[in-house]
């Protein structure tokens, strides 16, 4: 395809490496420093599937340069690229199961229950190759309708969602989902919250299963109490409100397998349209004040809010967006992580 043909078109999704390479080192340092960026670019070259978003997961603390990676894939992955990956990683059982899942998902009606998938990697400093991924399945079948501001026309029942969790648990973790984990999940689903993702973390030992739920910030204590989360839900909620004094939603990442346990991970500002620039700056100021965020890293995020776009080499545009996850040990915030997403724009090239 020539550049001329590309110039007026709705482009395909780019490769993760192209998307990440398009964002210059100066735009994200010290959030993603030069050597980390180069290392990730080198690693991600092996992942040859098209992505809609490539996301750096950056620790915000001073002196902590660790960065993980998450890639968002939509159906239509391309059979030849997937087949090549399956050949490349066939020696690793966790990879093999992950890619077999992607193959089935992209070629079946599974898109109806799982509109898109996050393929995430926990990266160590001396990582020589991509580790087995953590797969985050969006299980909000009405995701696109919600984004359009519509009421979901159909809603998955708790029974549907449990079946889905068990089926993919067996497929991805290669074992039956334990009954106590199913019971914990049922309690988490039964409380009138929006269920967003199931995370099958094949890259962790022991293999871990998480559920992400979205709920109004004022309901956190009540919800944690009902699902039996250890600790003091009221105190956790009070602490969360110090970060987020405005009304809105948070997302809770709850580890359900091997057990329901802390630390509690709370995601703030995941829906950009719900958050103003004032909210963002107040949030970052509080993070810095709590010594959870390096001031220079906060400055990068502030710049990303105001100047958030760029071009790939072929002219396709991308935009940057970000949100923050805070980990709480009991009710104490102990670590913050920014998810800095590079989103391929969908429009035609200019």
């Amino acid at each position: 395809m020539t550049m001329q043909a590309h110039a007026l078109s709705v482009p395909p999704f780019p490769l993760a490496g192209d998307l990440l390479a398009a964002c210059d080192v100066h735009e994200l340092a010290p959030l993603v420093d030069r050597s980390t960026r180069e290392r990730i670019l080198q690693l991600v070259g092996a992942f040859t599937l098209p992505v809609q978003t490539a996301c750096y997961e950056c620790r915000l603390g001073s002196g902590d340069s660790r960065v993980d990676l998450a890639l968002c894939v939509f159906p239509g992955l391309g059979t030849s690229a997937l087949a090549q990956l399956r050949r490349d990683y066939d020696h690793d059982p966790a990879w093999r199961r992950s890619l077999a899942f992607l193959q089935e998902w992209t070629t079946s009606q599974a898109f109806l229950q799982v509109p898109f998938v996050w393929v995430a990697f926990d990266l160590e400093e001396l990582q020589a190759s991509l580790p087995p991924p953590c797969l985050g399945l969006c299980v909000d079948a009405s995701f696109f309708e919600r984004r359009l501001g519509l009421s979901p026309s159909t809603q998955a029942t708790t029974a549907d969602l449990l079946r889905l969790a068990e089926r993919y648990f067996e497929r991805l973790h290669d074992q039956t989902m334990p009954e106590d984990a199913v019971a914990r999940l049922e309690r988490c689903l039964d409380q009138g919250v929006e269920v967003k993702h199931y995370s099958y973390m094949l890259g962790r030992q022991p293999p871990t299963f998480k559920v992400d739920v979205r709920l109004p910030v004022g309901r956190v204590a009540d919800y944690l109490g009902k699902v039996g989360f250890p600790g003091h839900p009221e105190r956790i909620q009070q602490r969360i409100r110090q970060f987020m004094p405005w009304e809105g939603h948070v997302q809770l990442n709850l580890v359900l397998h091997p057990e329901l346990r802390g630390p509690l991970e709370v995601e703030f500002m995941t829906l950009a349209s719900e958050v103003s620039e004032t909210h963002r700056s107040g949030f970052l100021a509080h993070l810095v004040e709590q010594q959870l965020c390096d001031p220079e890293k906060a400055a990068v995020l502030t710049r990303s809010t105001r100047n958030c776009r760029g071009n790939l080499p072929n002219g396709q545009r991308y935009e940057r967006g970000w949100y923050v996850k805070v980990r709480f040990e009991d009710d104490q915030p102990v670590e913050a992580k920014a998810y800095v997403g590079l989103l391929a724009r969908l429009s035609h090239l200019l």
Binding site: M1, A5, H6, L8, S9, V10, P11, P12, F13, F74, P75, G76, G78, Q109, F111, L112, P115, A141, S142, F144, E145, R147, L148, L150, S153, T154, C308, R309, R317, E319, R345, L346, S347, H348, L350
Partner: protein, 159 residues
């Protein structure tokens, strides 16, 4: 300048009265649209919005859909590929995910209509329900795509 042409062969008698099927044709008007830079016409000819308008509102687009009726079951590979080729060549839709959503939505809509005609059998009811789910999902995806496009910074640059 917009004209509406009616097709008498597609007139249907409905319980509520007679309905005529019309198609839009758009031509140059007396007062030309002010051209932004780069020219609007070239940019918009290759877009999802232009494709949707063509499919829904023009005779050529309607005829195209009618010529690509999916089989009652199965993947309809040849028809899919023919539609894909047209989307690429005529509207520059290079994104496979979007091509599939458009084609799947068309297949589901066509199969829903057939199932509706076959009612009230139990299998028709199931087929109608299944195809309605597929259609809703695929169309909300396509509309989301337009929404994402419109909410991007590029959109405001056109004003």
């Amino acid at each position: 300048m917009t004209n509406i042409s009616y097709d008498p062969s597609k007139r249907e008698k409905l319980p509520t009265g007679e309905r005529k099927i019309g198609y839009l044709t758009i031509g140059d008007g007396q007062a030309p649209v002010k051209e932004p830079n780069p020219p609007l016409e070239a940019r918009d000819r290759k877009s999802l919005l232009n494709l949707l308008f063509w499919l829904v509102n023009t005779r050529e687009g309607n005829d195209f859909l009618e010529a690509h009726v999916p089989p009652s079951t199965g993947s309809g590979t040849a028809i899919r590929e023919s539609m894909r080729t047209e989307f690429i060549n005529k509207f520059g839709i290079l994104n496979v995910t979007l091509q599939d959503a458009l084609i799947d939505g068309h297949f589901a809509a066509t199969r829903w209509i057939q199932a509706n005609k076959d009612m009230p059998s139990a299998s028709a009811a199931t087929a109608r329900e299944e195809n309605e789910r597929v259609y809703q999902q695929k169309m909300s995806f396509v509309m989301w795509w337009l929404w994402e496009d419109a909410m991007g910074h590029d959109f405001s640059m056109l004003w």
